[in-house]
């Protein structure tokens, strides 16, 4: 097995007097497709932000290719947030801005932005102020922006939550294309079907702990943990006391 791109051990995060992420161990190999699932408030978004280096763990360690992550790790990753954060500029300017941040040259920037616009079917909206887009359009723009950065590891936090079926399928196709190009994917989703379609491995979180791991789709068919079983069956699961 290849050396992991990103590995986390004993990851904890505390805030507001609670331990919100509690001893998570994880390894993401190059080209992996990890589906992170769990109930609302389980800590999925926090985990992604920890792995991506946006917040500092209160305990535990994260390694990028075996070493503490530095500038190179940052440039090799991209993330689509659950709530897209768009600059107060046009759709096109948002894409160009991201590419400029990644150090793309001027001509390159312009070309890649146009390409991303077309691939995400946003070309008709290129001149619109990004913040006036509909929720689904914003989400598509956020995905397009992350993909345009050509990362080696891509974090996706419910990237199709407010997309219509056709757009959701289109975004799934974009993700699959990226994976075919060798990009490792970490995907948070509440959609079991999507997890099966896009994921190879499952990481199921419950109240900040990893309750279940395994290969997909098997792991979702016959969960061993009570938390994951309840999730699959759409039952309420009160989980361990926090």
């Amino acid at each position: 097995m290849a050396e992991p791109l990103l590995s986390a051990s004993g990851l904890c995060f505390e805030a507001g007097g609670g331990r919100l992420i509690d001893g998570v161990d994880l390894a993401i190999r190059p080209g992996a497709r990890v589906a992170v699932m769990g109930a609302n408030g389980a800590g999925k978004s926090l985990l992604l932000r920890l792995l991506h280096g946006l917040i500092r763990p209160s305990a535990g360690e994260i390694l990028w290719r075996g070493r503490p992550p530095g500038r190179e790790a940052r440039q090799a990753q991209a993330m689509v947030f659950q709530r897209p954060v768009l600059l107060r500029r046009s759709v096109r300017a948002n894409l160009r801005f991201a590419l400029a941040a990644r150090g793309a040259g001027r001509a390159d920037r312009i070309a890649r932005a146009e390409q991303a616009l077309v691939r995400a079917r946003l070309d008709r909206l290129a001149q619109r102020p990004a913040r006036l887009l509909s929720a689904g359009e914003q989400q598509r723009l956020a995905v397009a922006r992350a993909l345009a950065c050509a990362p080696r590891l891509l974090f996706l936090d419910e990237p199709t939550a407010s997309l219509d079926p056709a757009s959701a399928l289109a975004v799934e196709a974009l993700i699959r294309d990226a994976h075919a190009d060798g990009v490792a994917i970490v995907l948070v989703t509440h959609d079991a079907g999507q997890a099966r379609r896009l994921g190879d491995e499952l990481v199921f979180l419950d109240a900040g702990r990893v309750a279940e791991t395994g290969a997909l789709p098997g792991a979702l068919e016959a969960p061993r943990s009570e938390a994951a079983r309840a999730w699959v069956e759409g039952r309420l699961h009160t989980g361990p006391a926090r």
Binding site: R49, L54, R74, Q77, F81, V85, L87, A101
Partner: protein, 235 residues
């Protein structure tokens, strides 16, 4: 207040008649104030943005310092600049004392902390929203400051206008370093102070009204430009 209306009519009459002396004073006021505000923005915007956007040790102290320096007394600033520029001071050789340049320097010192402190507040608020996205993109410090300043530009206009307000209204510092010398460094505020000390209260008030009218004109122009720009940006 009959005298006031008479004085105001006279003052307006002087402007309409393009009275050389009053026009000269108004021109110098605008020149000094606008230069000082421009210089203060050049310093204060990036400084405030840096304090607002970056986490560094001593950041709270820097914030407190900026906020406190909004209360720099003009007379003190005037004295400091005076002592620096005076013939026996460290920069005396430049011969800047009692020139408009000295007045610009003094007002810049006065206004830069105001611009910086208010910018810090605006940028910090915006950065709360953008910080993680910027970090995710791997944006460098310079890029962050630039993007934050650009995206906060409409709010920062109000900040610049606050600086402009302080500068136009200011008399203590320009009086000390400029000397209110007729035909050389006399501006609206020092002229008003002079008329007041002469006991020509009506004339002083009339000049004050003229000064306020100028401020309204400048502000109105800026806000109108802003309004049309906002309309374009927000659709």
């Amino acid at each position: 207040m009959d005298g006031f209306w008479g004085a105001l009519a006279r003052a307006v009459g002087l402007i309409l008649a393009w009275d050389a002396e009053l026009i000269e004073i108004i021109g110098l006021s605008l020149r000094v104030t606008l230069s000082a505000v421009a210089a203060a923005c050049l310093i204060g915007l990036p400084l405030g943005a840096a304090v607002g956007a970056f986490r560094f040790p001593g950041r709270i102290a820097a914030t407190v310092a900026l906020n406190a320096l909004m209360g720099l007394p003009p007379v003190v600033v005037g004295l400091m600049v005076y002592l620096t520029l005076s013939a026996s001071g460290p920069l005396g050789v430049l011969g800047l004392l009692y020139t408009p340049a000295a007045m610009i320097v003094a007002q810049t010192v006065l206004v830069a902390p105001i611009v910086a402190a208010l910018t810090r507040q605006v940028v910090e608020e915006l950065d709360r929203e953008y910080a993680e996205q910027f970090a995710s993109l791997g944006l460098g410090p310079l890029g962050r400051v630039r993007a934050l300043l650009w995206d906060a530009r409409y709010a920062l206009l109000t900040v610049a206008l606050a600086g402009f307000g302080r500068a136009t209204a200011e008399v203590g510092a320009v009086m000390i370093v400029g000397g209110n010398i007729d035909h050389a460094t006399r501006v609206m505020t020092t002229a008003i102070a002079l008329e007041t000390s002469k006991g020509n209260l009506e004339l002083a008030l009339a000049l004050g009204v003229v000064l306020i009218a100028i401020a309204v004109a400048v502000t109105g122009t800026v806000m109108t430009l802003r309004a049309s720009a906002v309309r374009m940006a927000y659709g």
